[in-house]
C-alpha cells in the first residue's frame, strides 16, 4: 500500500460515473469538479485524474485544496477517502464492492453476504495496534424493527452486542447496568424540527420561537422517553466542548405560554392556523410527534396536521416549492466539527439539492462561517462559529432544536471488556477483548 492507493481510492469515488452520494466530502480538493461535475444539469466531467492529489513518493500524499480549510484533516475520517488496491477497478466493479479490501484492523472473510451478514477476521498486517478479537460475526437484519430484533437477540444470547429499541431502554438499563453491560453516550448529533422558513405560516422568527416556547421538552423527555434523552438548547452538541453554547437558544429551555402566545400573535400565527408536522414512519417517532402536536394545539390553539410518510417521501415533501410547516429531522455529524452542524444545514451553499431544506439564507451567517474557515487560531474560529450559531438559532430560530443524540447499547459483559462506541456510533471492535 502506498500513497498511490489513496489517490486511487479517492479518484475512484469522485468520478462522475460513480454517482457516489458521499463524494462531496472531497469537494474541497482542487480538481474535484473536473472529475465529478458541477452539479448543474448537463454538466459533463471530462477529467479522469484527480488534479489536486499527487504522490511525490510512495510515503507522501499531497493534497491541494481549492480553498483554505482548517478542518480538512478531520474530513479524512470519512471512509470515502480510503485507499484501495490496484485490482479495485472503477466504482461499478461489483466483484470488489462485494469483497472490499481496506487498511484497517480487520479484514473481510468471504464476501458481503447481502442481507445476511459479514464475517471479519483480524488483520495481522495492520500498521497500528493489532486488534484482540480473532473473528467478528455481523448479522444483517431487515431495517424494519431492526433494533428490536437486535435487542431480543442479545437477550437470548444470539448476539454479544446490540442496539436497544427506545421503548425498552429503561428495561435494558435495569437489566444490563448492574452487570456493567450498558453503554450510554451523547454523540455528535441533534434531533430537531426542520422548518420551512420561506413559506407561511412559519416564515417569521417570532412564529418559530412561539412554537419552540410552546413545547415542553422536559415533559416529553420524561413521559415519552422516560428520561433517556438530553434536552437540546443549541444546535452544536455538548461533545464539541469548545463550541457548545447551552444558552444560545433562550426559547428552548422551558415553555413559557404567555410569551409564546404573544410571539405567535406578532409572528402571524393566530389560533386556528393550520400547521403541518411531517415525520418518517418506521423510526419510532409516532409517540413524541403526537405529544408535540397536542402541546401545540393546547398551548397555541393551532390546528396541527400530523403527516406520517415513508422516508423518501418525507424528503420530497421538504424539498417541494410549496413546502411549509414542521418536519421531523435528525442530523449526525460527518466528522467532529462544529462547522459540520452549521454549514450543511443552514448555509446558502447548501440549499437543495443540499441539506438546507428549510431554505434559510442569511448573508451575515455565511460570512461568519467563511471567516471561521480561514481563522488562524482555534479560539478565533470558535468565537466566529458561536456568533454564527447565535445568528441562526438565537436570533432567527432557523431550526427548532429538540434533544441531542443519545446512543444506548447493551453487550455481554460477562465475556467481553473494552467495549465502547466510536465516532460513527459503531462498536470499537479494535479494542474489544475477552475478559
Amino acid at each position: 500500500m502506498t500513497a498511490e492507493s489513496f489517490i486511487r481510492g479517492m479518484t475512484r469515488a469522485a468520478k462522475q460515473a460513480a454517482a457516489s452520494d458521499v463524494a462531496y466530502h472531497m469537494a474541497g480538493i482542487a480538481g474535484y469538479t473536473d472529475l465529478h461535475g458541477t452539479g448543474q444539469p448537463g454538466s459533463v466531467a471530462k477529467a479522469t485524474e484527480f488534479s489536486g492529489l499527487s504522490a511525490p513518493d510512495p510515503h507522501t500524499l499531497k493534497v491541494k485544496l481549492s480553498a483554505p480549510d482548517c478542518e480538512f484533516d478531520r474530513k479524512t475520517l470519512q471512509p470515502v477517502m480510503s485507499p484501495v488496491p490496484k485490482n479495485a477497478g472503477d466504482a461499478a466493479n461489483k466483484a470488489f464492492n462485494d469483497a472490499p479490501v481496506g487498511n484497517g484492523p480487520f479484514k473481510l472473510e468471504g464476501g458481503w453476504r447481502h442481507d445476511q451478514g459479514i464475517t471479519l477476521v483480524r488483520n495481522d498486517s495492520y500498521f497500528g495496534d493489532k486488534a484482540y478479537l480473532d473473528k467478528v460475526e455481523l448479522t444483517i437484519l431487515p431495517s424494519q424493527d431492526a433494533a428490536e430484533a437486535e435487542y431480543r437477540g442479545a437477550q437470548s444470547n444470539q448476539f454479544d452486542y446490540a442496539r436497544i429499541p427506545p421503548a425498552l431502554i429503561p428495561q435494558a438499563k435495569a437489566t444490563y447496568e448492574p452487570k456493567h453491560g450498558f453503554i450510554s453516550k451523547l454523540s455528535y448529533g441533534i434531533n430537531y424540527l426542520l422548518v420551512n422558513v420561506v413559506n407561511p405560516p412559519l416564515n417569521s422568527p417570532d412564529a418559530r420561537k412561539a412554537i419552540s416556547l410552546a413545547i415542553d421538552r422536559d415533559a416529553i423527555i420524561d413521559g415519552v422517553f422516560k428520561g433517556f434523552q438530553t434536552k437540546a438548547t443549541s444546535i452544536i452538541p455538548p461533545p464539541l466542548k469548545a463550541y457548545y453554547q447551552p444558552t444560545v437558544c433562550d426559547v428552548c429551555d422551558k415553555p413559557d405560554l404567555g410569551r409564546a402566545k404573544a410571539l405567535a400573535a406578532s409572528g402571524g400565527l393566530p389560533p386556528g392556523t393550520k400547521v403541518s408536522l411531517a415525520f418518517n414512519t418506521g423510526g419510532g417517532h409516532e409517540a413524541w410527534v403526537q405529544a408535540i402536536g397536542q402541546e401545540l394545539e393546547k398551548n397555541l390553539g393551532l390546528k396541527v396536521d400530523l403527516q406520517p410518510s415513508p422516508f423518501a417521501e418525507l424528503l420530497k415533501k421538504e424539498k417541494a416549492d410549496n413546502a411549509s410547516g414542521l418536519f421531523r429531522a435528525g442530523w449526525s455529524a460527518d466528522y467532529p466539527s462544529a462547522e459540520n452542524f452549521l454549514f450543511p444545514l443552514l448555509s446558502k451553499h447548501s440549499l437543495p439539492p443540499g441539506d438546507n431544506r428549510g431554505r434559510y439564507v442569511n448573508e451575515r451567517f455565511d460570512d461568519l462561517l467563511a471567516q471561521a474557515r480561514k481563522a488562524p487560531t482555534e479560539g478565533a474560529r470558535a468565537n466566529l462559529i458561536k456568533e454564527a450559531e447565535r445568528q441562526a438559532i438565537g436570533t432567527d430560530m432557523a431550526l427548532i432544536p429538540l434533544w441531542y443524540r443519545s446512543q444506548y447499547r447493551v453487550f455481554e459483559a460477562s465475556k467481553w471488556a473494552g467495549v465502547s462506541l466510536d465516532f460513527f456510533e459503531n462498536p470499537s471492535l479494535a479494542t474489544i477483548h475477552q475478559k
Partner: protein, 305 residues
Amino acid sequence: MAMIPDDVAELAEVAPPVGPGTVGIAVQTQFGDIRKRFFRNKLAVIGLGMVAFVFLVALLAPVIAPHDPYEQNLSATTQPPSGAHWFGTDELGRDQLSRVMFGSRIAVVVGLTSILLALGIGIVLGSIAGYRGGRADSVVMRVADAFFAFPVLIGAILIILVTGRGVLPVILAIAIFTWTVPARLLRSSILSVREAEYVEAARSLGASKWRIVTRHVLPNSLAPVLVYGMVSVGAAIVAETALSFLGVGVKPNVPDWGNMIASGRAFFGYRDFLWVFPSLAAVFTVLGFIFVGDGLRDALDPRLR
C-alpha cells in the same frame, strides 16, 4: 379457473327448496324456519350477543368512555392498570380503556362498510356474469381472477401508499380486493337457480328480465353471499388491524386496535397490558362474527346439522 375455497360454496348448490308458483309464501316460511334454527344454536346466540355488545360499545363510546381517548398526560405514561385507569395508560398517558372503546368504532365502521362495499360490487358484477352469461361473464370472471390472484395485503398497502392513510382508503383497499369472492358465489348461485322451474314459469308468464332477477333469482341466490359477508366482517376487521400494524392504516393518533397493538408490541414482555387489551378486543369481536356466521350457515342449510 379456480374453485371457490370456502365450505360456504356448498351452499351455492343448495339454495333453499322452493315450490313452483307460491314464491312469496314459501320465502316467508323459510325465514321463520331459519330464524328458529338459528336461535336454537347456542353458540350462534352467544355470537350474536358478542356482536351486539361490540356494536353497543361502538355506539355509546362517547358517552360511556371514562376519559377522552386523545387526551395525553405526559406525567403518567405506560402506567399499569389501576383504579383510575382500568386498562392502564399508553405511552402518551392516554387512558387505554377509552381508547379500546373508541377503537371499536373504527373496527365496526371499517369492517361493515368495506364488506358492504365488497358485497355491493360483488353482487352487481356477479349477477351480470351469472345472468347475462356469455361475453359479459368471461370478462367479469377474468377481471375477478386478476384481482383474486393479487395478494390482498400487498394490494391494500399499495393502494394506501398511493392515496394516503385514513379510514376511507382502508375501506376502499379492503373492498377492492375482496369483492371477487361474493361475485363468484353469486354467479354460481345464479347459475343454479336460473334454470329452476319457478323462473321458467315466471318467464313464460311474460315477466320482464328485471323482475325475474330482482323478484326471483336474487332472493334465492343471496343466501350464501350473505353468510360469506357476515363471516368476512371478522376478516375485514383483522385486515384493518393488520394494515395499521404494518403502519399503513388509519393515522397514528386515532384510537384503533391495530395502532395500539403495533405500538404496544414494542413493549412486549415489559408492559404487556399495552397490547393485550386491544388484542383481546379484536379477538372477541372477530369470534362473535364467526359464531354468528357459523350459526347462519347452519341455519340456512339444515342438512349440514
